[in-house]
Amino acid sequence: MTEDTGALTPAVFHILLALVDGPLHGYAIMQAVERSAGSSLSVGPGTIYGCLQRMEESGFVRAVETADARRRRAYALLPRGRKALETEAGRVARLARIVRAKKLVTGEA
């Protein structure tokens, strides 16, 4: 029952993270996720849109029309998504503190 822990899947976490600074379209999100997750997470268009679809259904993000020449949709963060991200970030920070306290990792992450 992983849902019970309240953890977000890594992809969702990084997508939310990417949208904090403002609405982005698919490829931009992909690039941002690549930057923030590094090689630990390999995402393609399908993964991104699959996640976005579920996140939209959960009220985390919403699609917005953009002035983009190719009329692609961009995705904007909603309050609920920000809240989930904050909760998850807090959890990760807590985990990080514990990990550091146990001296599993040295130095600043």
Binding site: T9, Y49, Q53, M55
Partner: protein, 910 residues
């Protein structure tokens, strides 16, 4: 950058999107292709081939992953973050788990639910009957302080009769125990005017009645005391009549309603819940649609010693007990007697009073049979519970390994039991639901079989009270059989079960003992029910086989009431009676016809009379005024002398025919023909009537009651003043009967047509064959006997099923043992004997227990039995025999199965 290559790559990618679900592709396909193009561009710029390959590899992996994710999501919607939900209550989870476990064994569920539904349904139906009759609050305010008051003249054989008008007026003036007294009396009236004329039940009520009951009209007002006097043409109607006859019109007040061809002004409408008079065993018990003021006539006010036909109610003053009121009425009695004429007092006349709580008065004799029914149906539920408990245990035996495994895997015993109880709850819930449907259906079917005077008979139905009862019963049932497995399991034994499995462990033996006990008690309960049913059926058979003294076959009867307004003069009434008689007699197929003031089994007028030359005190007798060939029509045997006939006209000699009971009592050893009798006390001014014939005794009141004394008088010789009396309308309330040579019911339309030709607006009601009347008169006994028989059959079947189940399980579990026996040379007969012996041992134990209990239970029935003793030998012999035969049949199948066990297979499977 070569756009053409990109275009080609993008086209291929787009084709590949086909692996994704269509809706996903439709929504994101374009964006994905765009993104792919952007992915491709920077990589291709640097290292064309390698970059492109890496890009393709990543895109393909992503496509396949997306395809998998989308498919999974379709099967079970995935939640990326769970909603904050309350944890699913453990009970709900148990229920869910139990439901799944049950769904795997639909046969078991079906059998269990049907058994429970039978038990719960029967209980619900009977409870709703009993509740309507005994428990439900009366539709009046504070019913516990209402007291029914009856008069009595014990020395003339009338210990409990209604009150007469002058006595009621005396009570009102003298008594101090009650806040008020109110009288009422049923009377059928003709309703005409708008639409078809019809006969409806009405009630004359004191103006004080509604305040006394604490129920006022929903619309309009009660009668004023001034209207409670002769001449006030006002009426209050029931809610039902308002809806039916006036379509619930808002302006009904002040409208006229034609009652017995007299216009009455409607001053009030009663609320829908109001039913009065309430059904019960005594007189004046038919809910009325129309209420008119009591308005005693001058004749009624001075009719001392006559017309004891009013029902009287009083509401006890606060602080006054019933006992105190009884004492007060004892003291009042001599003062009331002092107001009687001296010639009546000279006969040694004394008044007696019966004061009883209104509720008891309504339930009367119905209380005991209803409680017996409730008890019997409770036994049926016990049988059902025992049976289901047995099934649950058998199932538990089959699941011993599963349970053991669960314990071994860490399930707490408590949790296991919770799941078992949850299973019981589901089964009981389903059983209760189905039972409710069964009850609804059977009540609908039974409604026409309910005795008309059963208290609350009109209001039997599934209301909130009954529903609550059913829910409670289902829960209780679930507890009873749900805990059965608990008795037989212990945590330590469960692990033992796991090791050894099957029925040879301690737990298995314990379970078998409990199951045997359940079968024995089922058999015992079935015996009790069978004995009860047997006794009641024997009693019913004797009752219906009673020679009623008349021949009900081939007789059609109907009833009519002549409105006093149209039939005001005695001659007019006599003429109409003669016309109707002649019209009936002239119908093709009619042998003889008669009109009379009463029919056999329909209740008779009782009158005090005096026999000439007799020194015994005056007594009362049933009295019927008859026109036409009454005795021939009803097949009543004329023992001596002659029947009444056309010659006994108004101006001829006053004559009467008496029954044998009367002749025996007054003229034992003498010839009754020529003796003289007269109505009233020796000093009465009534003319002497000469006895011209003696007829056989007829069971007048009911088949079960011994025939009482009866006098038959020519209708034409009734006094003019009596016929013209408008208060009771006694002589204008007539029963028409004729004997046919063919099917009597077929003549009904012709008879109704003939009467309509004589008076087009006269309603004719209650058109029934005499056989139907006889049958209706024993409706209560028939209902009782057939219900108990039904219960007994259900119990018997359940006992057989239980026995079969236990034996079948035993055979299954002893397969190996039986195999060994047979391998060692035991003949098949011996194996059969083994199982049969076990079955018979259980049966015998149940029989013995049941017979002991039945002896006790039968005593409870004794007051309901007619010419049958509670220890009726044939019943007590037949029941064990039937039960033994059924038990033998139930054991036969498992026994045969045991004998067919193949020893080799049985041993190999070990």
């Amino acid at each position: 950058m070569e756009p053409s290559t990109f275009r080609w790559s993008c086209a291929v990618y787009r084709r590949l999107l086909a692996v994704l679900p269509a809706d996903f592709r439709g929504r994101f396909g374009d964006d994905m292709t765009e993104d792919f193009r952007e992915m491709l561009a920077p990589r291709a710029a640097g290292r064309p081939v390698r970059g492109r390959l890496a890009c393709w590899r990543r895109a393909l992996a992503d496509l396949l992953a997306t395809r998998r994710d989308q498919r999974l999501a379709r099967r079970s919607p995935r939640v990326i973050v769970p909603e904050r939900r309350w944890p699913v209550p453990a009970l709900l989870m148990d229920l869910r788990y139990a439901a799944r476990a049950l769904a795997r064994t639909p046969g078991y569920v079906a059998v269990t639910v049907v058994i429970l539904a039978l038990g719960i349904g029967a209980n619900t139906a009977i409870f709703s009957l009993v509740d309507a009759a005994l428990f439900r609050p009366l539709p009046v305010a504070d019913p516990d302080r209402l007291v029914a008051i009856y008069e009595g003249i014990p020395q003339v054989g009338l210990p409990k009769i209604g009150a007469s008008a002058p006595d009621v007026l005396d009570f009102e003036a003298m008594q101090r125990s009650f806040d008020g007294l109110a009288a009422f009396r049923n009377r059928e009236v003709e309703l005409s005017g708008r639409g078809e004329s019809e006969r409806v039940m009405s009630a004359r009520i004191s103006a004080s009645l509604l305040p006394l009951l604490g129920v006022g009209p929903a619309v309009g007002r009660n009668f004023t005391p001034a209207e409670d006097q002769p001449g006030a043409a006002v009426a209050i109607i029931s809610y039902g009549l308002w809806q039916r006859r006036f379509g619930g019109a808002a302006d009904v007040l002040g409208r006229k309603i034609i009652v017995d061809r007299e216009p009455l002004e409607i001053v009030g409408v009663m609320p829908a819940f109001f039913r009065f008079p309430l059904r019960g065993p005594l007189e004046n018990n038919e809910p009325a649609d129309l209420f008119v003021p009591m308005a005693f006539t001058p004749f009624e006010r001075q009719a001392r010693g006559m017309m004891f036909n009013l029902s009287l109610l009083g509401r006890l003053k606060p602080g006054v007990t019933l006992a105190a009121a009884r004492t007060e009425f004892g003291l009042i009695a001599p003062r009331v007697e002092a107001n009687y004429p001296p010639e009546i007092r000279a006969t040694g006349f004394h008044l007696a009073f019966t004061l009883s709580p209104f509720r008891d008065d309504l339930t009367g004799d119905a209380r005991r049979p209803l409680l017996v029914l409730l008890g019997a149906v409770g036994l049926v539920l016990l049988v059902a519970c025992a049976n289901v408990a047995n099934l649950v245990l058998s199932r538990a035996a089959g699941r011993a390994r599963e349970m053991g495994l669960r314990v071994a895997l860490g399930a707490s015993r408590r949790r296991l039991l919770q799941v078992l109880v949850a299973e019981s709850a589901i089964l009981a819930g389903l059983g209760g639901g189905l039972g409710l449907l069964l009850a609804r259906w059977s009540l609908g079917a039974a409604r026409s079989f309910l005795p008309a005077n059963l208290p609350g008979a009109g209001d039997v139905g599934l209301d909130a009270r009954v529903l609550a009862f059913t829910v409670g019963l289902s829960l209780a049932t679930a507890l009873v059989f749900g805990f059965a497995p608990l008795v037989t399991t212990r945590a330590t034994q469960i692990s033992e079960t796991l090791r050894e499995g099957g029925g040879r462990t301690t737990a298995g033996r314990r379970r078998q003992r409990v199951q045997a006990g359940l079968v024995v008690s089922t058999v015992a309960l079935a015996v009790v029910l069978l004995v009860g049913a047997g006794l009641l059926m024997r009693s019913f058979a004797r009752l219906t086989a009673t020679d009623a003294g008349f021949d009900p076959n081939g007789v059609l009867t109907m009833s009519l009431v002549l409105p006093p307004q149209a039939y005001d003069k005695a001659d007019r009434v006599r003429a109409f009676v003669a016309e109707v008689h002649d019209a009936m007699a002239a119908l093709p197929g009619v042998a003889t016809a008669s009109l009379s003031t009463a029919l056999p089994l329909a209740g008779n007028e009782h009158r005090a009379f005096t026999a000439e030359g007799s020194d015994t005190a005056p007594t009362s007798t049933a009295a019927t005024w008859v026109d036409g060939d009454y005795f021939t029509t009803f097949g009543i045997h004329v023992v001596r002398g002659r029947p009444l006939g056309a010659g006994d006209s108004q101006d001829a000699q006053r004559v009467a025919v008496v029954n044998e009971a009367l002749a025996r009592r007054y003229w034992r050893g003498q010839d009754p023909i020529g003796k003289r009798i007269k109505w009233g006390i020796p000093a009465s001014q009534m003319p002497w009537m000469t006895v011209v014939g003696v007829v056989a005794d007829v069971h007048d009141a009911s088949l079960a009651a011994e025939p009482a004394m009866h006098v038959y008088v020519p209708y034409d010789q009734a006094a003019d003043a009596a016929i013209e009396d408008r208060v009771t309308n006694f002589y204008r309330t007539l029963s028409v009967a004729f004997r046919t040579v063919s099917d009597p019911a077929a003549l009904a339309p012709a008879a109704l047509g003939a009467i309509r030709r004589l008076d087009p607006s006269l309603p004719v009601t209650d058109v029934r064959t005499m056989r139907e009347r006889v049958s209706a008169s024993v409706a209560a006994q028939r209902l009782m006997a057939s219900l108990l028989a039904g219960f007994a059959i259900v119990a018997l079947l359940l006992a057989a099923v239980g026995l079969y189940g236990v034996l079948a399980l035993a055979v299954a579990q002893r397969r190996a043992e039986i195999g060994v026996r047979m391998a060692l040379g035991a003949p098949r007969g011996q194996v059969v004997g083994l199982i049969v012996k076990r079955g018979m041992r259980l049966t015998a134990a149940g029989l013995a227990l049941g017979l002991v209990a039945a002896v006790g239970a039968a005593r409870l029935l004794s007051s309901l039995l007619y010419r049958t003793t509670p220890g009726d030998l044939p019943t007590f012999l037949a029941v064990p025999l039937v039960l033994a035969l059924v038990a033998l049949a139930a054991t036969a199948l498992p026994a045969l199965r045991a004998s067919r066990i193949d020893p080799i297979q049985a041993l190999r499977s070990e």
